[in-house]
């Protein structure tokens, strides 16, 4: 017996504990402190994976975070920004714990490939906030420096690609992507200040909480003054339109509205958007005095197309095999970040590394998620404060989120063979913006779910239920009807995008637990993950 336990202990030390309870599993839930969910100690994943995680993820990322800051406008700029803006200080320091949450329980190639996605997001984020700080008049005694004069601010849902014609001359930095959107994922506490701030001036609690947060940053005077002009749009909903109005008041700068019609299937609408994109270009030329460059536009679009082609390769592997090494949360976040921000060097570097891992998995037939019981497609908009729910769901129940709606929205290349084709495709891409194509866009696009379910060989749906999204709420009953009619196994995940107070993480887990035990009659792979208190966690 003693021999057995020594041999098991050695095996566990070398390979890490096995996943399931039957095999004397790893009990990931026991690794954490109550409430704060800090680690008592980080997970031992076996010698090789623990060392990889320590050196190539934890240490590597800490070092490169510092390096990125040094290279991109330096530590003084960073320190000034950190001291001035809550969203950077409160959020970006615990970034490695964001890695931990997303990568918990991952082993081998899945851990490596997913971590590279995270690394790219961190680098892009640093690049953006450092640019904001370097150009920020508030951090430079009110002075509008050269960087300020060559930066353009825009709503985070305006696709960065519309600024490609000024690549290298004007840097586009989304207004809310860093102060609001990314923060929710890393530290869900920060955003609550902004939601409360906008409600304190009289806004009711029911509009989309994402828009509330985007407005709240302005109400709380927490937006750097880093650009002379702003581009906004109506993405993705009524609240976004109104957010622009509030932002215009507080930002008080020349603002151009780029419309994003919902009826994007109508060719007449596309023609209209093409003309509006041209209007935008004229606005930028007028404001910055720098001419539009067709060469720069097409060059960048070609690079973006490269990214898209690799994404299709990834989807092909994800859809047709068990060898896809990217977990649900890394897939979703990386993809939406990349497609929304547009082409950037780090995406190519990352894709190159991921390609290697992907090819290895395919050629060696490595199943990175061997405990998969159900292949899940996640549909509609995800909870930002619990985007890593899918990591938990795999560890606890074997629910492997193969693909999600956010990844699928920009399913296209952009032609560069003629001005007309390019503009036409750019208009299409712009209209397929996050959330608009499938969440608040034409109703029938929401029901493309069935096609994607088939395409990705999924047998279960995780249906996000953003409680304050009128577009999705307006279809709730029809989805229930269709799930029943088609006998599709589906569970709902109610949430309020960034606001973790409306539906807590524990409540989300409880709903999934209930579904898996009472409807699916399954036993958890790791019972220690069924119920735990992480109410105070980041």
């Amino acid at each position: 017996m003693a021999k057995m336990s020594i041999s098991k202990a050695l095996k566990d030390f070398w390979y890490g504990k096995p996943h399931t309870a039957e095999e004397g599993g790893r009990r990931l839930g026991d690794l954490h402190e109550d409430k704060t969910h800090l680690y008592k100690h980080r997970e031992w994943r076996g010698v090789a994976d623990t060392m990889y995680y320590f050196y190539n993820i934890w240490l590597y990322n800490y070092i490169f975070m510092v390096k990125d800051i040094m290279v991109m406008h330096g530590p003084i700029t960073f320190a000034k920004g950190l001291w001035r803006y809550r969203w950077v200080g409160q959020t970006y320091l615990p970034v490695l714990h964001w890695f931990d949450r997303g990568l918990e329980g991952m082993r081998g190639e899945a851990m490596k490939a997913s971590a590279w996605h995270y690394r790219a997001m961190v680098s892009t984020t640093i690049r953006q906030f450092q640019r904001m700080f370097a150009a920020d008049t508030r951090l430079h005694g009110g002075k509008q420096n050269d960087l300020y004069k060559h930066t353009i601010a825009h709503n985070e849902t305006v696709w960065g690609g519309v600024f490609y014609p000024w690549d290298g001359e004007i840097t586009n930095v989304p207004l809310e992507m860093i102060p609001y959107f990314v923060t929710c994922h890393v530290n869900s506490h920060t955003v609550l200040n902004y939601i409360d701030a906008v409600q304190s001036i009289g806004l009711p609690g029911d509009p989309c909480p994402m828009c509330q947060a985007e407005s709240g940053i302005f109400v709380l005077d927490d937006v750097p003054d880093y650009a002379p002009a702003v581009i906004t749009c109506n993405e993705a909903c009524d609240a976004s339109v109104s957010t622009s109005t509030l932002q215009d008041w507080f930002f008080d700068k020349p603002l151009f509205s780029l419309p994003m019609p919902m009826l994007f299937d109508d060719p007449l609408v596309k023609k209209y958007v093409m003309r509006e994109i041209e209007e935008l270009w004229k606005f930028v030329e007028q404001q910055y005095g720098i001419p539009f460059s067709w060469e720069k536009l097409t060059k960048k679009l070609e690079l973006q197309n490269e990214l898209q082609r690799f994404e299709w390769e990834k989807w092909e592997v994800a859809a047709k095999s068990d060898y896809y090494p990217v977990n649900g949360v890394a897939q979703a976040l990386y993809r939406i970040y990349q497609t929304q921000y547009g082409d950037w060097e780090i995406w190519h570097v990352t894709d190159k590394k991921v390609r290697k891992i992907l090819e290895k998995c395919v050629s060696k037939k490595i199943n990175s998620f061997p405990q998969t019981r159900h292949r899940v497609i996640a549909w509609s908009c995800a909870p930002l404060y619990y985007s890593n729910w899918c990591t938990w769901a795999y560890n606890c129940w074997g629910l492997n989120v193969i693909i999600n709606m956010d990844s699928l929205m920009f399913d296209m290349e952009i032609r560069t063979d003629s001005y007309e084709h390019t503009l036409e495709d750019m208009a299409q891409y712009h209209m397929w913006a996050p959330m608009r194509r499938m969440a608040v866009g034409g109703m029938h696009h929401m029901f493309e779910l069935w096609d994607y379910m088939k395409r990705f060989n999924c047998d279960m749906v995780a249906m996000y239920d953003q409680l304050q999204c009128k577009g999705v709420q307006g279809l709730h009953g029809l989805f229930e009807d269709e799930f029943r009619k088609r006998d599709i196994k589906a569970f709902w995940i109610p949430h309020a995008l960034p606001d973790s107070r409306t539906v807590s993480r524990a409540e989300i887990r409880r709903l999934i637990n209930d579904y898996m035990s009472t409807v699916m009659h399954e036993e958890p792979l790791d019972p220690s993950l069924l119920d735990f208190d992480d109410s105070m966690t980041w």
Binding site: L38, K40, L59, L82, G89, Q90, L96, F218, L220, E279
Partner: protein, 72 residues
């Protein structure tokens, strides 16, 4: 030679200690504990007490900006 060897042994020793210390920080999540219990509360207090301008007093000039219509 001896000196060089000693230097390298010393260097290796330092590297080993640093490495072990970092691993301890990593494994026992000391970075997380420090950030959660010390750094974040400190920064939070700083941000909460920061003087901020009353944004509702921001001017709202009706005719400040022109109509951006490049086709008319």
């Amino acid at each position: 030679m001896n000196k060089i060897c000693k230097f390298f042994v010393k260097l290796l020793g330092i590297l080993f200690v640093v490495n072990a210390a970092l691993f301890a920080v990593f494994f026992f999540d000391l970075d997380g504990k420090l950030l959660f219990n010390v750094v974040e509360p400190f920064l939070k207090k700083h941000y909460d007490n920061m003087e901020r301008k009353d944004t509702l007093k921001a001017p709202y000039e009706i005719d400040k900006f022109p109509k951006y219509d490049f086709n008319s």
